[in-house]
Symmetry: C2
Subunit: 157 residues, 2 copies
DNA sequence: CTCAATGCAAATCTTTTGCATGCTA
DNA sequence: TAGCATGCAAAAGATTTGCATTGAG
């Protein structure tokens, strides 16, 4: 069942209703799955995670809800190159910290890192400001990912 | 027909043979399509581009060749979130310059920019070095992309 | 001559869509 | 009660794979 992290109203309900969307059990389950996830989940991951407790929620609803969440800016959609999208709550939606990803091209392992994140953010802000002005482009998000071979795969091969 | 950019041997032939791959008309056509492209092409873009001159080359071959090129590190595979991968020669493979991308979430327009690229590269190098050491992760490439709304779409509303 | 490369068609797999029904507000 | 939300099945699309044939070296 959805956790409330306290006794107040669920943090996203107001925002959800404000956009004209309804609160349903399926949507609560999906948000909860994202909130309690320790990593980026695929649509199917989410489906599998909630299915035991919410067998009535189908994969279609997961996709449809994720689309809404991404459009609302509550969730970020990632592509790590393995043909399926991953979803993660945007920082600030909960206690999460800003991070970027290291992707192993061999085993597809994902490492989140926060090292140098302050330097990165500083540069990103500067770059975003400059690009916004030059191209009159309104930047809403960014991706930084490094690809390579992780330690385990280096040993193997 | 494939351009040779001069009279010497084609730059990628040696590297290709060295990996045990054969040089075929289809592969020449695909490499040429990438070399003469002014932007990232999808597999189908490449297929369409070469089809008039090489009707015998099928989409399957395009995919298979691109996979080899990506694995060899000659071509970079991008995902801009519209469900189809784009391919681009790695910088250094030809005269191209290092750049990153701005992606419009409305119309999917892609803007290449090189502004701030030196600052970005400096930070990336530093970050790569630090991450390599800390995670014993061998970094081979990176992605930086900004998402948002382009000027044209902002006008539209 | 050998074995990689290829075309074609079929198979996969993820994500999307149509439609009748259920449920929130 | 009005419409949004949903399940299910089918559709859509991109990419991959099986297999017999072709062609580079």
């Amino acid at each position: 069942m959805p956790r409330r992290y306290g006794t107040g109203p669920v943090w996203w309900h107001g925002r959800f209703r404000g956009c004209g969307y309804r609160i349903t059990a399926g949507r609560e389950a999906i948000l909860d799955a994202l909130m309690t996830a320790d990593k980026h989940l695929s649509a199917e991951d989410i489906y599998n995670k909630i299915h035991p407790a919410y067998p009535a929620v189908g994969l279609t609803t997961v996709y449809r809800t994720l689309e809404i969440l991404v459009n609302m800016g509550l969730v970020f959609k990632f592509d790590f190159g393995d043909g399926r999208a991953r979803y993660e709550l945007v920082e600030g939606s909960k206690k999460s910290h800003h991070h970027h990803h290291l992707v192993c091209k061999e085993c597809n392992r994902i490492i989140e890192y926060t090292d140098f994140i302050n330097d990165e953010i500083e540069l990103l802000k500067k770059t975003e400001k400059g690009l916004s002005k030059k191209y009159n482009f309104e930047i809403t998000s960014h991706i930084i990912q490094f690809y390579g071979i992780c330690d385990k795969c280096k040993k193997k091969g």
